[in-house]
Structures are given as C-alpha cells and as structure tokens.
C-alpha cells in the first residue's frame, strides 16, 4: 500500500473557508428545488393526467425533454439562453435555482404521477360521491395520499438532487463538492479532500434518508 494520507491541512479554518459556504448553497438549492419541484411537478402531473389534449401534450413534451438532457447541459443552456431571451443578466445563483426547479419539476412530476395513479380509483369516486369538486378531491383526498405513498421515492430523488448540486460548477456557482475540491487543489491534497467529501456526503445523505424513513413510518397511511 503506497497511500500516505496527510490530514495536516485539514483544519477548522479550511472547513469554514471552503466547505461551509458550499454546504449552505447546496442545502439551499436542494430545499428550494425540492419545494418548487414538488409544486410544479404536481401541476405537471395533474396536467398529464387531465385527459385534456391541450394540457397533456405540452406537459408531456416538457417532461420528456427535460428528462433526456443531462442536467449540466440544462444548466448551461439556461444560463446562456435566458439572458439572451429576456435581455437581462441574472446571477449564477439565481440561474441555478431557476434551472433546478425547472429540471426537478420534470422528475417530481413523474413521481407524483405514479403516486396519483397508485391511489385506487374508488377513492376518487368516494370523494366525488361526497360532492367534492375536482380540486377539493385532489387537495383533500388524492394528493395527501399520493404524497405519503411517494415519500421514499421523493427522498431518493432529493438525495440525487443534493448530490447533483455539484453540477453548478458549469456556471461558476459554488457548492459543497466544489468546496472540498478547491481546498484539495489549493493545498495539493486532492485525495484527502475527496475522501473527506465522500464521508461528509455519506453522513449527510444517510442521516437524511434515515430521518425521512422514520417520518414516513409516522405518517404512512395505515392500510
């Protein structure tokens, strides 16, 4: 074994200088994109399930298009094209947030669509039979159940999203992985930096998924 690790550079200062800022950004981006993605994703899912051609077709094209382009390309395109379209510059951070919401909406819409379809048709009938309108039925009966059913899958996508925030390197934004990388480069210790990143990501993502599993057990629909 010829791997000598040198952790001497790995001080608290380094953490506060390089990693924390990226961590905040990653978390912020993940949180905003998850909330926005679930919201718009649900709308897209409802459009796709509406049975109305004028709603279904654009939603389907949007979702399938977004899902077939690598995220890093979406980020780049968004960053390059939107200023040309609106004739005004938007910052890397804002651009990243908008891109992630737009991109994640496509993924969350697929998840929510499966979730909505997993609710037995009888539930919809029951809501209707009680006199609920379409939107009441969705809000009070279908979506709460769909959301509970889909929580584990939503979680998995959120973990992917948290890891994918590293792709913002393409437009010069700064996330947690970038923090570790930059530190590793400037101190000439990339292996140590990557190992630290692996451990940090693992601990964060694993805790997150454990947390959500507990939450899911709590709010899961008792059948």
């Amino acid at each position: 074994m010829n791997l000598q690790l040198d952790w001497s550079f790995f001080t608290w200062d380094l953490f506060t200088n390089f990693v924390i800022k990226g961590f905040y950004f990653s978390v912020q981006l993940t949180a905003i994109a998850t909330i926005g993605g679930v919201f718009f994703g649900t709308l897209l899912a409802l459009m796709r399930l509406s049975g109305n051609k004028w709603l279904m077709t654009p939603a389907t094209i949007y979702v399938n298009g977004m899902r077939s382009i690598p995220l890093v390309m979406v980020i780049l395109w968004f960053f390059l094209l939107v200023p040309l379209l609106i004739g005004k510059q938007i910052g890397a951070e804002a651009s990243a947030i908008i891109t992630f919401i737009a991109f994640e909406s496509a993924f969350f819409s697929e998840i929510m669509r499966a979730g909505i379809q997993s609710i037995p048709r009888g539930q919809v009938f029951a809501g209707q039979a009680l006199g609920m309108t379409y939107s009441q039925n969705m809000r009070l009966v279908v979506l709460p159940q769909a959301f509970r059913n889909m929580l584990p899958v939503l979680l998995m996508q959120t973990i992917v999203l948290f890891q994918d925030t590293s792709l913002v390197y393409a437009i010069g934004a700064y996330d947690m992985l970038k923090g570790f990388e930059t530190a590793g480069k400037n101190y000439g210790r990339p292996i140590e930096a990557y190992l630290a990143a692996a451990v940090t990501y693992f601990v964060l993502c694993y805790s997150l998924s454990t947390l959500v599993k507990h939450l899911h057990k709590k709010i899961a629909v008792i059948r």
Partner: protein, 245 residues
C-alpha cells in the same frame, strides 16, 4: 324521486348499458342483482353522475343529471353512496372522514359537522372508535363508518354497491343490520347486492340485469321470489346458481 329514462352507455364499441329505464319512489328499497360485468355498478353510478352516459335522461329529485349545466358536486352531496371496498380516506381519522365533506362541501362549521358525524357514528354503533384510523378497523367496522359518512351528509337517497361482498362472512351481518334499520326508517335506497336474504326481507323491488346492461326484470320482491315461473330463463338460472350452495 329517481327517474332513469332510456339510458345507454358505451365504452368504445362495447355497450354496457342498454336502454335502461326505471323509476324509484321516495321510501322504496330497490335491490339490483345480476351476473358479474352486467353493468350493475355502472347503472347505480349514473344516478349520481359518477359515470357519464351517452344517451337517455336521469332525474334525481327533479334535477337533470344528464344536463351539462347541472351543478354535479351539489347533486352528489345530496346522494349518499357506499362502495364495495369502503373507500374511507385512509389518511384521515374516523371523525375526520365523517366531517371533511360536511365542512368543505356543505360549508358546515367544524362543531356542527362533528356533532352530526358523531351522531351517525353512534347510529352504527362505533362511537368508541372515533379517533382511530380506517386501517385500524375491521372490514365490517369500516363499512359501517362509510355508511355513517354518507348519512352525515343528510342524503335524500342512499346508493349501495355490493356493500358486503368484500367482508368476512361473520361481518356481513353487522352491515346488513345497519342497512335494514335504515330501510325500516324509510330511507330511499338502491342496493347492488347478492344477499338474497336481505332482498327477501327488506326490499320493495328487485331489478335483475344481464350482460350488456339490459334490465331483464324489474318487479316487486314478491313476484321476483314468489313466481319463478314468470321470470326469464336467464334469471332463473342465475337464482339457481346463487341459491344452490
């Protein structure tokens, strides 16, 4: 109270209701039976417009169900419906199941809704379970809650779609009991069921449907059970089969 006039329905090319007509008076208890896939569920669902149909007319308490201008949610809120698989909302407690539609649809305030809901829960004998979730109840209990939920909307008519066929045999009785007492109180009811005991005991009329959604019989229970010779061959064959074992 309910008028079904020449209703036909197709799924694509397949006809599932053929020229169905019937009339139900206030206080009548009508049992609908027939082989699987004959369109019993479809027929009963046309009455509160859960199933749209292409031809014919349905009136409930004078309201034209087939009219696109009719406020369907409002109509449905006045027609109680009970399903084969209960369809309680599993993410809501029993009390919430009983009150949510009263509050969101009828606009009752939470206190009134709860009072009304608990009264109906008491009627089906389940007050003790008011804070449980549907998943924590047995099938028979769930179905009784479902009946209470429908009743708490103060319906003018109750529709039942095979309310006991998903139940363990021991629990069938407790649900039929609630239905029987409802009938005795004068509730207008339309029930899809194969419980011939119930039909014999409480129904005023029996409708028999055959595949393709045809109403083969529509007569009083006395005629239906008392004069087999006057029935169609298909009806007799069906009755023989289900009464045999």
């Amino acid at each position: 109270m309910i008028d079904v006039i020449n209703v036909s329905k197709w799924y694509g090319n397949i006809q599932v209701l053929t020229d169905c007509s019937t009339h139900i008076e206030k206080g009548e208890v009508v049992v609908v039976c027939g082989p699987s896939g004959s369109g019993k569920s479809t027929l009963i669902k046309t009455i509160n417009a859960l199933e749209p149909f292409q031809k014919g007319e349905v009136f409930v308490d004078g309201v034209a169900v087939h009219d696109p201008k009719t406020d369907l949610p409002k109509l449905r809120s006045r027609v109680g419906m009970v399903f084969q698989h209960f369809e309680l909302f599993p993410h809501l407690s029993v009390t919430e199941n009983l009150t949510i539609a009263q509050i969101k649809v009828l606009g009752r305030n939470a206190t009134d809704a709860k009072e009304r809901g608990l009264k109906m829960l008491d009627r089906v004998g389940l007050t003790a379970h008011k804070d449980k979730y549907p998943g924590q109840l047995s099938g028979g209990q769930q179905q009784r809650v479902a009946i209470a939920r429908a009743l708490s909307m103060d319906p003018i008519v109750m529709l039942f779609d095979e309310p006991t066929s998903a139940l363990d045999p021991e629990m069938v009785g407790e649900v039929l009991e609630v239905m029987t007492s409802l009938a005795h109180e004068g509730m207008t009811m339309m029930c899809v069921t194969h419980e011939m005991g119930f039909a014999k005991q409480v129904s005023t009329r029996v409708i028999f449907m055959d595949v393709g959604g045809k109403l083969l019989e529509d007569c009083s229970k006395e005629d239906f059970f008392g004069h087999p010779e006057a029935r169609q061959p298909r009806t007799r064959e069906f009755l023989d089969k289900i009464l045999a074992h």
